[in-house]
């Protein structure tokens, strides 16, 4: 028993002597290790936020591409709107008909086709439709421009050609028959038609229309 205890004590002593040996550590460069640890602790090195900037860049690129596409889709349809009516109005028959008070037959222009919806501005714009509930969105797309805001959006996006003729203007021009008064509003005429009409006709009081007052200021005095 005593020898066992002695052996145990001897083993403990040997254990302590062995533990007193110091492992070599000169090959471990502490300064370089701390520098590398600082580098590795950066968020970019960890890879945690590496995707943030590329994702933001991709999102902005997609938004820019969408806006460019919207502009490209709208631009070609705005050009030809004045071409066909301009050709029709420049014909002498059309001018005579305009002086005589009869409205010349204007071939249907691309204005009659559904125009692209403007991107911004007003309840009829794409932004407003995207924000509106789905069931209201379809109803709004079928409803004609009833409110002032919708009419404003149409004029801003499609030009003055989109301005509907008031019922009273047809009567003042003398071209409206009684049955025309009950007929649906006439299609908007082109700007050139209206301008030519203003030039050739005397300054007759037309129906109160804000646009007429604007155009009258552009009259260069070519009156008969």
């Amino acid at each position: 028993m005593a020898s066992g205890r002695d052996e145990h004590q001897d083993l403990n002593a040997f254990e302590a002597a062995l533990a007193a040996l110091a492992p070599r550590s000169e090959r471990l460069n502490r300064e370089r290790l701390m520098f590398l640890a600082g580098q590795a602790s950066l968020p970019a090195a960890r890879g945690g936020r590496r995707w943030a900037w590329p994702a933001a860049f991709g999102a902005m690129t997609a938004v820019a591409a969408g806006l460019l596409l919207a502009v490209v889709i709208r631009a070609p349809q705005a050009g030809p709107a004045g071409v066909a009516p301009l050709a029709a109005a420049s014909a002498p028959e059309a001018d005579v008909a305009a002086v005589g008070g009869e409205r010349p037959k204007v071939p249907p222009s691309p204005d009659q086709a559904p125009r692209p919806r403007p991107l911004l501005g007003g309840p009829g714009s794409w932004v407003a439709l995207c924000l509106a509930p789905w069931e209201k969105r379809s109803a709004a797309s079928r409803r004609p421009a009833e409110s002032y805001l919708q009419l404003r959006d149409q004029v801003l996006s499609q030009g003055l050609d989109a301005w509907p003729q008031p019922p009273g203007a047809a009567v003042a021009d003398g071209a409206a028959a009684p049955e025309d008064a009950a007929a649906p509003p006439a299609a908007p005429r082109s700007q050139r038609e209206l301008f030519d009409e203003l030039i050739q006709k005397p300054a007759a009081p037309r129906a109160e229309h804000p646009r007429n007052s604007t155009l009258s200021t552009l009259d260069f005095g070519a009156r008969s």
Binding site: L21, A22, S25
Partner: protein, 169 residues
């Protein structure tokens, strides 16, 4: 630096750096690379490990074993013998055991006994931590430790200073 602060890292290197080197030296010839990689892995962690010391020893063990296998493959390919004649301990006049002899004796132990002795004596790990580290039972770890100590004492018997307990046997 994130969760792992510079203070934690400095304290870890001061208290366990040499022991981690010794632990990795059992398997590979470049223990400093293994320990460095383990520290970098620790820095990349999002949360501080629950038992930091045991975690470090596990990572160092895995890294050292991988390095050892790679070195053996390279040695077989190049026909070289893996040399491991570098001393593991710093010699000191106050030591009661010869550093070179202790290195040779430790290197001659079976791997399981050597690993347990190094982790226990210089790493300060408990027997439970060591058992989790090498995937064995606590009783096995206990047995290997005492067997390894006895074998070391027998091998270092010539250099173990004679004292009153030794003369009695």
């Amino acid at each position: 630096m994130g969760v792992i602060t510079a203070e934690i890292l400095t304290r870890l290197l001061d208290e366990h750096g040499p022991a981690l080197l010794l632990y990795a030296r059992q398997w590979c010839d470049a223990p400093e690379d293994v320990v460095q990689e383990a520290v970098l892995q620790l820095v990349r962690q999002r949360m501080l490990p629950e038992n930091l010391t045991a975690w470090m020893y596990r990572v160092v063990r895995n890294g050292a074993l991988n390095a050892s296998r790679a070195a053996q493959r390279r040695a077989r390919r190049e026909g070289e013998a893996a040399g491991r004649d570098e001393a593991w301990f710093a010699a000191s006049a106050d030591d009661r055991l010869d550093a070179a002899a202790a290195t040779a004796a430790l290197a001659g132990l079976p791997e399981a006994q050597r690993e347990v002795i190094v982790a226990r004596l210089w790493g300060g790990l408990s027997f439970e931590d060591i058992a989790r580290l090498n995937g064995s039972s606590v009783s096995s770890v206990h047995r290997w430790y005492h067997q390894g100590l006895a074998a070391l004492r027998e091998r270092l018997g010539a250099t173990w200073p004679a004292d009153e307990t030794n003369t009695k046997t």
